[in-house]
């Protein structure tokens, strides 16, 4: 158990994000394209951290974040979005997440740091 679960509806984002995390020495526990798959994989794989797109088809990533944080054990959750206005510190606090990063500002270094998995395991 442990590692990172990547949740994003774009296959290209999931594939490249996974490649980078692996190159940084992290373990990718799994990938999901929508909210039900994300919650199912989080329950079965028990990742240490989840990188989660705010826009998941019909679902709201913040609600998914709240559900993930209610799991026991609860993974760290970092939300991302191509829309810089899709999140802020208040939402991060309300849903018990660990950060929000617009995709324009996201790179392999700040993602790995926010996921906190380097020192969590």
């Amino acid at each position: 158990m442990g590692g990172v679960l990547i949740v994003d509806d774009s296959p290209s984002f999931r594939a490249l994000c996974a490649r980078l995390l692996i190159a940084s020495g992290l373990v990718v526990a799994g990938q999901a394209a929508d909210a039900p798959a994300a919650l199912h994989l989080a329950r079965t794989l028990r990742p240490a951290a989840v990188v989660l797109d705010v826009h998941l088809g019909d679902a709201d990533g913040w609600q998914v974040a709240g559900a993930l944080r209610a799991l026991d054990p609860a993974p760290r959750v970092v939300l991302i979005s191509s829309d810089a206005d899709a999140g802020d510190d208040a939402l991060v606090r309300r849903y018990g997440a660990h950060g929000f990063v617009p995709k324009a500002e996201l790179d392999d270094h700040n993602l790995a740091a926010l996921l906190g998995v380097a020192d969590a395991e």
């Binding site: 296959p11 594939a15 790179d107």
Partner: protein, 217 residues
């Protein structure tokens, strides 16, 4: 020698992931650009074998990448151009190819999930060939008129024609369809005869011949 590649993609994480993917495939990433003007500068400075270009990039985030790619093809014909697009847009692909299908590719961005497919496309484009996304080819084949010359083809010949349009060599087609090279060559000859196409040497020339036919069909 390793293929030299310049990458243009505005999202830093995707750019870094793409760079890692290409490096893992044995290529050398000599430049990374985050917008269209930066791409044009880096292509001029590095003269890479291939420029890999995202369609939607700053400053306008519409088709800046596509326009830069078309400009690179005009100003640096020795540089192969592989465009990655969010959408299977037939018009974008045809605008990019223009009247010359050599050293050019148009793939859906989600193909990057398949390392072998993307690496194969980069190598083909670097070698002066073409790489057209299967989904774009399927779109073009799907909306033909009634009484199209394509109706003369057998199902097998249609499969071969589809892979020809994607830019695959006869060897590549043989691998994809689990046929012998001789069988593929026979199919290709029959297709060219049935469709009244001049028999073109070189994969990129026959890509153009097939695209011209599909546009008219």
């Amino acid at each position: 020698m390793a293929l030299r590649v310049v990458i243009a993609e505005d999202q830093a994480l995707l750019r870094a992931g793409l760079a890692r993917l290409l490096a893992d495939a044995g290529m050398e990433v000599v430049g990374e650009a985050g917008d269209a003007p930066d791409l044009l500068r880096k292509v001029a400075a590095h003269r890479p074998d291939v420029a890999i270009v995202d369609v939607q990039m700053p400053p306008d985030r519409t088709d800046d990448g596509l326009r830069a790619a078309i400009r690179i093809r005009r100003e640096h014909p020795e540089v192969g151009v592989l465009v990655l697009s969010q959408f299977s847009d037939e018009r974008y692909a045809l605008d990019l190819i223009g009247t010359d299908a050599s050293g050019v590719g148009y793939l859906l961005k989600d193909r990057v999930a398949d390392v072998d497919a993307i690496a194969d496309a980069v190598r083909r484009v670097a070698a002066g060939g073409s790489a057209l996304d299967p989904e774009v080819v399927a779109l073009m084949l799907g909306r033909r008129r009634k009484d199209s010359p394509l109706d003369r083809l057998t199902p097998r010949e249609r499969e071969v024609l589809t892979l020809m349009a994607e830019g695959k060599s006869n060897t590549g087609i043989a691998d994809a369809l689990h046929l012998s090279l001789a069988a593929v060559e026979k199919n290709v000859t029959r297709i060219f005869t049935k469709l009244d196409l001049g028999h073109e040497a070189g994969e990129h020339r026959r890509v153009l011949a097939v695209l011209t036919l599909l546009r008219a069909a």
